[in-house]
Subunit: 359 residues, 2 copies
Amino acid sequence: MRAEPQSFDRVLSSMCTEPHEAAREAAERFLATNPGDPATYPAIADMEGEVVDALGQIASLSDPHGFVASGGTEGNIQAVRAARECSTARNPNVVAPETVHFSVRKAADVLDVELRTTPVDGDYRADPEAIEAATDENTAAIVAVAGSTEYGRVDPIPALGDVATDAGAMLHVDAAWGGFVLPFTDYEWDFDVAAVDTLAMDPHKLGQAAIPAGGFLAREQATVDALAVETPYLESATQATLTGTRSGAGVASAMAAIEALWPEGYRETYERQQELADWLAEELAALGLDVVEPSLPLVTANLDPTLFDALREAGWRVSRTATGELRVVCMPHVTRELLEAFLDDVRALRPRAAVAADD
Amino acid sequence: MRAEPQSFDRVLSSMCTEPHEAAREAAERFLATNPGDPATYPAIADMEGEVVDALGQIASLSDPHGFVASGGTEGNIQAVRAARECSTARNPNVVAPETVHFSVRKAADVLDVELRTTPVDGDYRADPEAIEAATDENTAAIVAVAGSTEYGRVDPIPALGDVATDAGAMLHVDAAWGGFVLPFTDYEWDFDVAAVDTLAMDPHKLGQAAIPAGGFLAREQATVDALAVETPYLESATQATLTGTRSGAGVASAMAAIEALWPEGYRETYERQQELADWLAEELAALGLDVVEPSLPLVTANLDPTLFDALREAGWRVSRTATGELRVVCMPHVTRELLEAFLDDVRALRPRAAVAADD
């Protein structure tokens, strides 16, 4: 095999990153394990329970239920699926702000559930009144975002919890990206401060574990039980995950990363990356760009499409929001030096892009 | 982290195994890659296309479409989902032999599709007449098994393809476990000899790749397109996989294993493991057990439940069929020496178990 993996030295578009050294080591050591078959692979199955406990601690849930998922998409699918199963509605629906991750649309499609999206407020956050207006007696769940993919915004989770409670619906929080930095902010996002039923938070994103390591947490065991199917020939009774054979490398890697980094390592990472994001936002604004003030380590700014293309041609892995804005995710591999080189290229390519656009 | 992974020296219950050395090396090298985001991780995304081409070659499909899935469960879910999407029936159903893997039941549950299971023939294989009798105008797919989990049986795929064609339904073949040994047998199982629409075959099982590496193949691009959802902020148009962020380690590992082993390495492995399975079946029969003659490297035999428990207590990772039979999967890590030690323990523990059962 001649191919080489990409390096991270120009990656500004990913919500994943280089795993922590301890996480990489654990992934390699547990490569040939499958927590989906606990009777054959008991060590990694036990460790999965420990990861769920640790995730519960981070999300302020003292007696957590759940599992290590393949990622945020599975977390969101399983949350909607559990809500569908627990609902008595014949045609259950799910209500979410329009800023919800596209995996929730995928979940609705897969599960054949109606998804109702609502406009956000002037700061890209869910509007509880709009959410409430969209709910009805068939609403099985409200999905809120704690760290949105495009703007890094945190929805007003406690208010959405109240709306969900009044509607008799479950509240799912998608903290797939934000979960490992939110504990160090003033945002209200977790099981302790709101009527959250389920929550997705991914060790393989800001948790600095190796892919695949997502986290699915539930306040009640009954929610997980709603997902369970019977499992002959596994010497275990049921399986609540969407996938069958699963990556023990992901589980071990999540455990190793959390052991190495929670809480102080994650706090330091958050503070460093947030400072970088704030600085980048100022620098881009100084260049005359229309910048969305970052609330988490993610910067979004209006950028000429020709300049965007020129940056990609220059090797920068950048991506766009649905409306075409530049999106820079300040993951742990992103350094001041990296962003300075990026800004140099923005400055250097800007005139040329402007000329090309005039052609 | 003090925990250690299990060793494989007493594992007879798993359809996974130690990855091939080249597969392990590739998994470690591509640990921090995500083929789910091709604009950021182009090398691994390109490699995924090469893996699909290689899987197509193994399954006799010259222009294959599909992707590397998280495993056989995703392959089966996506096959049923594609059939549901392509069906014009209001309440589509899926017909499968009762020997189908439990992930097809999970798929039906997740996708809210009716699953109709039919009795098998005297040799644990799908009965085309029973399958045909269960189909109607709402049948979206027939699911066949090429290497069943409990008995290693191969359904009569060409006949089932005819039934599917007549019913206007898709035919999905679950070769998740069998796909990497069937090319060396006389069984008719692949795209070339039957009207197969989709097929699951997992590099992370007999393909000797690292977990997670499943394979989902489709004859037509339209089948994959039926699964696609739009993907903002990924600089790629759509995503047909069930999961979002995905393991590049699995993809690279699959490629490395196939490069190292296809076809001669897989052929040698098949011949060695089949010979072992045949020998084990004879030895168990000589001990008076009621043995199901192996058709692939998997041996099933009636065993006293007390003896089964005693073997598990002695450290053997064995598992049971739904009706309680002992099931031994002769994966590549299973050697003659390992099976001799197992048989020694069967002989040694048998009298004691018999006594305990009489208590």
